[in-house]
């Protein structure tokens, strides 16, 4: 096995090349080599969703993805959600609704919510809950998170 492999991928819109352990998890490469600590490790087994990122437009738990699979891929992490100078609609709604309490599930929750609204721009309460069922939160009871996602959908619809 080689000491390390070279990975080239698009990270939050910018091409990056890093060296990584051949068996490294995508999560470790994101946090260590790419120095994007916003993505969190809550369980290391794909249950909690704190490490969720968008890989080629699809939500994945980066703790379950071998980094080698991200070769040439388009990666979006929580750091890539905001527009220049402005929070994304989902981020703004999370802030407004107190949907982030301890904030540790928040990066993954925002990524999943962003993906949900991309696929389903006008979700109902039950669709939001189903869309976020892979992201565990222990602080909020999900009430404010669901409120925030519904409000972000409305804001996007209203063209804000």
């Amino acid at each position: 096995m080689p000491e390390s492999i070279q990975l080239t991928l698009t990270v939050n819109g910018r091409e990056r090349t890093v060296l990584a352990h051949p068996l490294a998890r995508l999560l470790d490469v994101i946090r260590e080599q790419l120095e994007l600590a916003g993505t969190k490790e809550g369980c290391g087994e794909g249950e909690c969703g704190a490490c969720a990122v968008l890989l080629d437009g699809r939500v994945v738990n980066s703790c379950l993805v071998p980094a080698s699979q991200a070769q040439g891929a388009d990666l979006v992490t929580v750091e890539g959600l905001a527009r220049p100078g402005a929070l994304s609609p989902v981020q703004a709604a999370f802030l407004e609704h107190n949907a982030a309490q301890c904030g540790f599930c928040t990066p993954g929750m925002l990524v999943s919510a962003t993906d949900l609204l991309n696929r389903c721009p006008n979700p109902r309460d039950g669709e939001v809950r189903a869309g976020l069922a892979g992201n565990l939160c222990r602080c909020t009871g999900y009430v404010k998170i669901v409120d925030a996602v519904l409000s972000a959908a409305a804001a996007v619809e209203a063209g804000q």
Partner: protein, 746 residues
Amino acid sequence: MIGASSIRKEGRAKVLGTACYTADKVVPDALHGVTVRSQVPRGTLTGIVYGPGIPWEEMVIVTAADIPGTNRVASVVDDQPFLVGIGEEITHAEQPVLLLAHPDRNLVEKARRAVRLEVAERPAVLDLQSALDLTQVIYGRDNLLKEIHISKGDPGPVWAQAASVIEATYRTGAQEHMYLEPNAMVASVTRDGEALQVTVWGSLQCPYYVHSALGQLFGQPGENVRVVAMEMGGGFGGKEDYPSLNAGHAALLAYKSGRPVKLVYDREEDLACTTKRHPSRTRIRCGFDAQGLLLALEVDFVLDGGAYATLSPVVLSRGAIHSAGVYRCPHVRIHARAVATNTPPPGAFRGFGAPQSLFALERHMDVCAGKLGLDPVELRRRNFLVLGDTTATGQVIREEPDLGGIMDRALAEIGYSGKRRAFAETNRSEDPVKRGVGFSVFLHGCGFTGSGETHMASVAGVEGLEDGTVSVLAAATEMGQGKNTVFAQIVAGALELPEEMVGVAEADTRFVPNSGPTVASRSTMVVGRILEDAAAGFRLALIQQGFLATPYTASDFSAAVRAARARLGSIKCYGQYRPDPDVVWDDRTYQGDAYPGFSWACYAAEVAVDTVTYEVEVVDFVAVQEVGRVVNPVMAAGQIEGGVAQGIGWGLWEEVVTRQGRMVNNQMTNYIIPTAVDLPPIRTFFLELGGPGGPGGAKGLGELPMDGPAPALINALQGALGDLRLDEIPMTPDRLLNRCEEATHA
């Protein structure tokens, strides 16, 4: 301002992903630490074998022999070692024995697995009943970590006179906090001759607890120890007492190696080794007269405290005091014991003993109502505490709690009467889904129990900064509950400034005073009150020394702060906790004012049970509470909603499965916490009737929501399924099926 739903101070960093949690801290040249654990529940450590295939000479190895100070974790009782030494006793299966560190995270993990411990094993005590039966004596002479008696009147003669005497036993299981961020510490230890400088950055609720633990571990004075609370990914009590232990471990590795060390638990280690909610068993006996008035109450309350005392004595105390609930009763006997077992010690968890004893009582009230032929609403209404009544400890209720009003509001919101009638009808049909509504009425004592606050004598302050803004100085930590925002609101209100002019200093023991631990629903009520005083003093000092004249604008105030700093250098003003002379408590007799105030609530739940799968769906949940003035309504609701979710999990799904005293379902895959699809919209209402208390009349609210959900849900299950032995939580589908079969066969 108090009463505004201000936006979370650190919220922007949290949604941008830039908030820095302990594991995110960039530490050049850091070693990765791991912990080698005992693996057997009881025995004597006789040897340590370093297995083959590991470059041991590269490893930093710390054993008990390396400890420079005292090998005991500073706590209520200093009985727990940081590490077990050769020849010493192992008392639970996850006990730290050896610490390893290396720059290569993978190699140090491999090394951990290569260590073999030689242990002369002895029979272990693994559950509460075996501890009471003294199958082995493992702690003191009687396996008791703490025993408490509370007495009012004399129930003895009442039992014979009572129209009905109803007795039952209730059990609750352990619960995992499951903060999303596993425990993590970063440590650095530098030497200056004999003196050490020990610094720890960590995920911790109580910087000064860790500070005193490190001082004792290294035998260093307080000024040589610094503890910094990083952004924290949830706590719930799980980072109240435990961090003294893992902070010590990280610091020992840094001390031995001379390099900074990161000690980050993975989820499996965190679940297996760190604290849980105490398992409990409560036997209750109630005597009623012919009208259903409560004449006598006897409670035997037992907690499984695990291998060391940790916080069990104080958890037991709160549980015992809350065991009499919200009812007037002239004759009460409460006997409470925390027993030792050879299991990892439980510790603080939101509610702190009260959820256990209140589950038993609020469940028992429904059982009693059934036996007395009364509606549970009516039985409670006849017995509620009112203004002027005394509690089991003889505390006079000085504010009208209006429990009837709180209960009526919750029942109206959930549609209790109509649903009870409707479900009685529909549950008779062939439909396998049976429905029920249930509720609980309860209280939670705000702040420390008894004279805790007086002993603590907390200090907090405000400082004027160079840019003319103000900073809050307190050791209270932010774990998501909103302390940064609420403190800024309180201080901004007291100084009549816009909130953006008030910041909150990092909880770093080098810069902030000891405002006490971030626990016991005390931050807003107790520390907030001290901050109000400090802010008032700060303002007065600026005025008296001629820097500020009233009335003033925000920019006048800024100019005054800048001018004062220019003249005086640093400008700070501190406040200190002032004991209320009307609050009197006797630790020896357990008589007096157990708490400076109580929050009151009624929670109501609607459930649907599938009698094919025995799955329980929570259809609706209503939480009505009186917590005094609500400082930040949106954040307060967030606290209640999260607490209710945790309470629902504890009541229905969350089960810690153990084998030989070790948790075996120590993964998120098989320890089930609620997801977004498992929960209904939780409907929260604040009545804000309360009088005095904290800033603007605020009382504690963080723990209250943990107390009510479990009994409300189980009472609702009784409504759905009729009379079953519903005396234990979590009421998982397996357990519920067993109870239904038991009822069928009876």
